[in-house]
Symmetry: C2
Subunit: 406 residues, 2 copies
């Protein structure tokens, strides 16, 4: 696998564009992604009972449409809690794209992100879609425009692309995502889009997406809130020309790892850009009785407000970490925990067999003052291992969310 | 039921004291509560797998000791994650109290709250217990000293007392509690102590405590973290001289309501004093399919960081409330929700049948700027009703918890 410069247009046959249509006051707010050829596709969506209209649209397509060829995304308005009008508007967005690109509406996936409960300005959106579709391009820059257009409170666009050799041919997987508040295990407000020229059937792609999500988006947390709009979409147009990829293909595992890498990097980029985040935190649990237990423990730690504020203060408050493990609901031998903090400045052990180790506070502070800090908890219950990613909880988080609507 | 001025010494036969023993630098940090007569008692404890040593001690007593006569509480040090030494120290605290008051160690309940992972300074604690026990008094003031001594980051002591007439006699229930971080459903870091002169058997009292907790402490949230030390203890010395209270007693319900009132008021006082809290929030859900569903929905809303920061900013961000209801895991008809905000400044409806109602933002702001704000969600699924209490999430919360240890 090779990491390459690129995003949503990296794979063969995909073009994109992003424009400022006028949903937001000034910034880019509308993106279209298009494939030359019809695509196998897969989707994964918010578990929130309150689902935005475009989520319902996409779920219908995943269930009943054999193939798609485009995605339209607007930012600035979530088209959520908008009742029947919301459904009509999502349908109408698909119609506009279909019309502009000569497709059926059932070949167009729709996503929205932004403020909840306000009807979309459909005249602006429809005009925007026509303009955006006209400017589609397959360059690196076109992909970047799309990545910028899907941002809300994000401070930087999130793109990643890799290339993997299969049957001697290059298979490319690229993607873009947006965060950055409401990010929590079980896929809270985030949109992530992956395009690939891999040859893979719809059912297989859906299965692969399901298992990839468990180790990527479901292992990140910004603030514990699960949104109404979370969506991950994958389009595979088959243009790499290999044989069909499936578990019986000799190079399947290579593809799976590359696919997971793209999702994991996008997930990590989302928490790196968590609202008000000053630090990127990684929590790894090893030696748990199984992988599920390790992931549950790691997630509980990364989701704790008290742990997050301690990291904000660069405070080696290991007690809060043990505490968050304790209330995770997962079982483990509390008297066998070893705990370590590390960063570019080094590693320090703070707990041994469940009790504190005397450590030099100034060394600990030095390690924790870094922008990227890892926590490792080693248990003695088995071979289970899991990693979660998150960010600290800062004044800035409170400021941003204290008055988001204005 | 009459609300009376008082706390832990309000009921007949209870005395208390609180002193600065030297565990903390200057402030009061040690309290003893004592009953003239032997007491029925009940306890409820943290569900965290990591339990502090005194929690283990008290759980043992609840399981095996027929009656107790005293409680000792220190603040400034949680005696948690202190391994075998912690267990010895908890035992030693019980011993010191027993010696000072002429009791058996199995008649002494022990609680600790404060920093995790640091061994108790036992010489200081033992001396303190002797001094504290000598100064026991049954006055209003003695109760207040104890309430002050159990505080950690609390900004005010929490006391409540009521008197209820049963068989023409006064039965008194009084209590004290401390918060104020790590407060979350399922009893996160809080200590609550109730004394009563009611005549009630141990098993009945334990049952009553169990049901009272569901509607009081389990319905509050400050930050979502569940601590290692949460404890609620109730002592009943029977000195009111009524017949034994039980469900077959004609005035049982009266007692139950008074008992619940005391727990609920202490729980509400804890969130009023939540770390960095500027606003007291009440969330009521009506019309849910049952009480459990209503409580689950209310708790999900009160626990949401995004809801809490919106209230901090006095922002009528109803979308976040619907969203938090949606990811609660409880089922409800999302298209039938009516939502209202109210405070001393009036009431405003913001959602009708799941979609936003046009409302005057300046009126909404006026309502939300108040220090006590209520949210009411009315569903159409049944008769279930539940209320949760919490506080906003402020800059101050981040400041306090960013460097708690220093």
């Amino acid at each position: 696998m090779q990491i390459i410069d690129g995003g949503i247009t990296a794979a063969l046959g995909f073009s994109a564009n992003g424009i400022a249509s006028g949903i937001k006051k000034r910034k880019k707010d509308l993106a279209v992604v298009y494939s030359q050829q019809s695509c196998s596709f897969a989707g994964s969506f918010t578990t929130n009972l309150v689902k935005a209209a475009p989520v319902l649209w996409d779920q219908k397509l995943v269930a009943s449409s054999p193939a798609v060829q485009a995605i339209v995304v607007n930012s600035g308005n979530a088209n959520a809690c908008t009742a029947e009008q919301g459904n009509k508007d999502a349908q109408s967005m698909a119609d506009s794209v279909a019309k502009a690109l000569g497709l059926q509406d059932t070949q167009v996936l729709v996503c929205s992100t932004g403020v909840i409960g306000v009807p979309l300005p459909m005249e602006t959106v429809s005009k925007g879609i026509a303009t955006c579709a006209k400017g589609l391009g397959d360059t690196r820059e076109s992909g970047a425009l799309a990545a910028e257009a899907i941002m809300t409170t994000d401070t930087f666009p999130k793109e990643v692309a890799v290339s993997v050799e299969i049957e001697g041919k290059q298979v490319t997987i690229g993607g873009m995502a947006k965060g950055s508040g409401m990010i929590h295990p079980n896929m809270a407000t985030m949109l992530s889009f992956i395009t690939t020229d891999a040859v893979i059937e719809k059912a297989e792609l859906q299965k692969l997406l399901g298992s990839s999500i468990i180790d990527s988006y479901n292992m990140i947390s910004v603030d514990g809130d699960t949104s109404t709009n979370d969506t991950v979409l994958v389009l595979a147009n088959g243009m790499s020309g290999t044989k069909t990829l499936s578990p019986s293909h000799p190079e399947w595992e290579k593809f799976v790892q590359s696919f997971l890498y793209v999702h994991t990097e996008l997930a990590k980029a989302i928490v790196r850009d968590g609202e008000g985040a000053g630090k990127f935190l990684e929590v790894t649990v090893k030696g748990a009785k199984d992988k599920q237990t390790a992931q549950k423990l790691a997630r509980s730690v990364i989701s704790s407000n008290l742990v997050k504020t301690a990291f904000f203060g660069s405070d080696a408050n290991w007690g809060r970490i043990l505490c968050a493990m304790g209330y995770s609901g997962a079982s483990f031998d509390t008297g066998a925990v070893d705990l370590f903090f590390s960063s570019a400045k080094g590693t320090i052990q703070v707990v041994s067999k469940g009790v504190p180790v005397a450590f030099d506070e100034s060394i600990a502070k030095g390690i924790l003052l870094e922008k990227e800090v890892s926590t490792l908890a080693v248990l003695q219950d088995g071979d289970g291992e899991g990693t979660a990613w998150g960010c600290d909880l800062s004044y800035e988080y409170v400021r941003i969310n204290g008055d988001y609507r204005s």
